[in-house]
Amino acid sequence: MTNGNGQTTSPELPVLTRKDFVSDQEVRWCPGCGDYSILAQTQRVMPDFGYPKENIVFISGIGCSGRLPYYMNTYGFHSIHGRAPTLATGLKAARPDLMVWVITGDGDALSIGGNHLLHTLRRNVDVRIVMFNNRIYGLTKGQASPTSELGKVTKSSPYGTIDYPVSPLAVALAAEATFIARSVDTHTEHLQATLDRAGRHHGSAFVEVLQNCNIFNDGAHREFTDREVRDDRMLFLEHGKPMIFGKDRNRGIRLHGHQPEIVTIGEGGITEADLLVHDETDPLIAFMLAHIYWPEFPVPVGVVRSVTRPTHDQMLTDQIAQATAARGKGDLAQLLRAGETWTVK
């Protein structure tokens, strides 16, 4: 493998730890911000992937999330609002050897950058997109975002928003992202495990992290993420396992016709065998999971979808290899003389 300077990189890697991924920059999010946890879990999982840190790149857009690359001791690029996926696509196309992460927020990814998110995912660009969803514009001090709930009173919507919120997972699914997951800033083990899965995926990985903004939208997800209630109000997905939730592990999701419904194991003859079994490769299950939410349902977290398809950079590389095999390595002198030529003596 060679890097962008044409140097050959060594396959033997030193063992890295979280500390290796901590940069010398002072972290400047508000005290109590959910971003601290996401940063810490991200730094923690980085050694798992076997990439030397110089081969890892974090690219962000604008918003509070956009600062994360400054705190990672890897290569980093803090770009412009909504456009991080475009830089990541170009970088990965030019440099398939790199591991590329995109750090974004609900406004950055779903509003100003919505088009890029859609197309990056549908192309299956081999990048991991981590979207911090605090359902508010934090950096600009508290305006409604595309995930703000209908009627939300903010500085920009003193009478409540009249815009319906978008479901990030449904957007990712519509774009046929090959990996879609959701986790929570405060559930550090779950977040770590989810980022770890995303990091190991080949292709576009989209991770929505439910994140609290304690300044402008405090308690954004508290109703179901608080430690006391989360087992009852969140559905922890596991591939091949029935969809069970609840402190007592006695509630589950069953299909009634094509509609999901909540049932209680042991009531009315319901057993575990009646429950829907999670399948990360099933698009209909993914569709259902992308659309159920608190308070009607427990909020699904974990890997909603994981399938494999050739990636954008892989197909681009293959096309070049095929064209070169079929036509030989390009000869510029010959190309300049293509078509009819004549000589003046």
Binding site: S79, I320, G328, A333
Partner: protein, 621 residues
Amino acid sequence: MTLTEPRPAERQLERVTIRFAGDSGDGMQLTGTQFTRTAAAFGNDISTFPDYPAEIRAPAGSLPGVSGFQLSFSSTDIHTPGDEPDVLVAMNPAALKANLGDLPRGGALVVNEDAFTPQNLQKVGYAANPLTDGSLSSWHLFTVPISTLNARALEGLGLTNKQVDLTKNFFALGLMFWLYERAMEPTLAWIDEKFSKRPEIAEGNRRALRAGYNFGETTEIFHERYVVPPAHLAPGTYRNITGNEATALGFVAASQLADRPLFYGSYPITPASDILHQLAGYKNFGVKTYQAEDEIAAVGAAIGASYGGALGLTASSGPGIALKSEAIGLAVMVELPLVVVDVQRAGPSTGMPTKTEQGDLLQVLFGRNSESPLAVVAPATPGECFDYAIEAFRIALKYMTPVVFLSDAFLANGAEPWSIPSLEDLPRIGVPSRTEKAGFYPYARDPETLARPWAVPGTPGLEHRIGGLEKADVLGNVSYDPDNHHRMTELRAAKIAGIAHDIPALEVFGPEEGDLLILGWGSTYGAIRSAVERLDDRGASVAHAHLRHLNPLPENTGDVLRRFRRVLVPEINLGQLLLLIRARFLIDAVGYNRVRGKPFRIAEIEAEAERILSTMRAGVR
């Protein structure tokens, strides 16, 4: 008619300009291109100007559907596709109506009389048939029943009426080949190759071409044939090339000269799309092309590729450049190499997408937030697009900066013979790559060029973060320090200004000092140069200087301007370079500005220069 009949007289001409005009479905672009190839291969100097509608298929026979292709071929060095045609080939009433105004009185007019039906005449508002009502008596009219003769020639081939009709442009082409004594072989060979899988269509086109040629040979309609001898071009191997072709090839060459892969991010837009089409075919040169979801993604991906060590390239036209502006500002801030091609078209907004203009100079210089300097180059001819594509990347890499390459619709689609350069003669492009860990800082600058190092991901020990936020000088960390911002703003400006030491001086054609200097940039080169040649032939003291570097300007620009009593700046905009020149050098230059979607004619530049010269003479008296 017998074989003993005397041959028509032959007349030698220095230069001929033909315009083929017809419906956009009539194949006029192809007809013009075939004539161009043939004339070029014969050794004429050529210059072409395709003029096609934005609509792919406007209603048949309508004025908006008229498509034209003008070409000039000559035995002497020419710079433009000709002010006005000597011959107009009009395939229908709409083509006649749309183009007759450009044909000088006495010019030859060849029309397909079969298309002059009452219905077609009515469509374009002719109350009477102009072929018979005497209204064309000022021109040399040749009415030829092209459709009928062509259909007869193709009888028995089993083609449908529609298929037969589609070949009639080759009848017209054959007739022009006869009239100007051009060989049919190159076109016959092209037909064989193009329709190799459809032999009956190939035969139809061959017959149409020959029928047109033989019609000229066997009828007495034309009393003269014309010969334009080969031009005395400089020794070398030539090909015909359009600006967009030369642009694409130049970027492939830049990639090889810098030994870095080319990444091209682009979104389809007229008149830049051909660059994407062409580069997409060069996969075996390691060229990676990417048709993005929009203009912003196209430039974003190019910046991402540059960040990774590739040559990041994007192209568009004015509206797309407007969309890319914020990202170009990012490239200014992060100081990465990037080339942005702007193939200008007539605007504002959607404007006239297929028509030419020079309206984006101020946009590319100043159309970004805050102080956001970058380099701008502008080729003057289709062939020069190759050289300036290389020059754009030379500057982008050496100075770690975005560079705008300003082309336009006239350059992009116009063609001329191009002396194919020898690759050995092209200098290698240096790259400020950095792998050394000791003393590395992301914004430590080369003392001479002020370029920062290009430390790409994958380089061990150089992990660092860049971005759109202001950077601390040298260290590259985020900084809100007021003095630092002022210093960095000046450094970015000084870096671009310093490129002036590294580009050729502005050359003057004609007298080194005198009455009038005509200063131009971009595709107006040919019209200005031809006008100045004519003026100088008449003994006027008029010179021509043409800027290829628009930011920074060559160091001697002010000196050159001050050596002339008057400076005239013709532009296809309302005076954008003029504004810069006046502001920068405090010189009372004047503009000549027309925005008609068309290139300048030589005569209008000449007339304007004459007007200025005469007022100067009057002033002296």
